[in-house]
Symmetry: none
Subunit: 116 residues, 2 copies
DNA sequence: TTGACATATTCCCATATAGGAATATAATGA
DNA sequence: TCATTATATTCCTATATGGGAATATGTCAA
């Protein structure tokens, strides 16, 4: 088969840098499509199409007011990512360096049982 | 243009569920390709090809010992994701304790739903 | 009503997969 | 040397883009 659809899940959806940029832009405020077109300097169809992907995975929510469509982020939908990262945090504590040390320690132990 | 290469960055690389599974499997120990083939029940070329993507974005590191190629996770390469997520933490609370509570709540809810 | 504005969708195309199968490369041991 | 084992790469194909251009849909205002 080919690659997964970008709308398969949140991980796929945020794989595209432009969609991450949209999410960042929407972090603090609700914005219309044309607000986003101005802010990002992309074509209007490009903005609409990336928003459509984010909408499908529910990372953004649309609120229509006449001609204007206001988009806002749905941060709770990012939880799967946070949870996925969380499984690594339980090994590393607060810093990446601690995780490194932890992994080096246990992997050294495992290696004493090595095959060669 | 077409879609970004999966090796474009860490975000693209982990968009594929199988690659996330490999990373999870490598969290606690170094493993050879055949270890991973056995653990995941995928074909050997499939494992090797997904590892190649992870290797290219430096999420895993290879250590060759004779015929065996040991792979280990490079956790510091997950930092871009952690940092990107950090900006949203304020929406659900920044501590892992709160995340734990959230997860426990969900789990409890799921369990009680199953009983009905 | 009608033109202008706001947004979404469709068409087209070049590109990059993911997966299966076959094959290549490399290291080992008898 | 040669068969076996371990891993990587190549070939093939169906599929899904992301971007540009054109167009459709929806809404408002004069």
């Amino acid at each position: 088969m080919a690659r997964l659809k970008t709308t398969h899940d949140v991980f796929s959806a945020i794989g595209e840098p432009k969609r991450r940029a949209l999410i960042e832009m929407l972090t603090t405020k609700e914005m219309t499509v044309s607000d986003l077109v101005d802010a990002m300097s992309w074509s209007q169809p490009m903005v609409s199409k990336h928003l459509a992907v984010l909408r499908e995975v529910k990372l953004v929510k649309e609120r229509k007011a006449g001609r204007y469509h206001y988009y806002r982020i749905q941060p709770e939908e990012l939880r799967p990512i946070q949870e996925w990262m969380h499984q690594f945090e339980k090994y590393w504590g607060s810093t990446m360096d601690q995780l490194d040390n932890y992994l080096n320690t246990i992997q050294t132990k495992v290696n004493s049982d090595e095959k060669n």
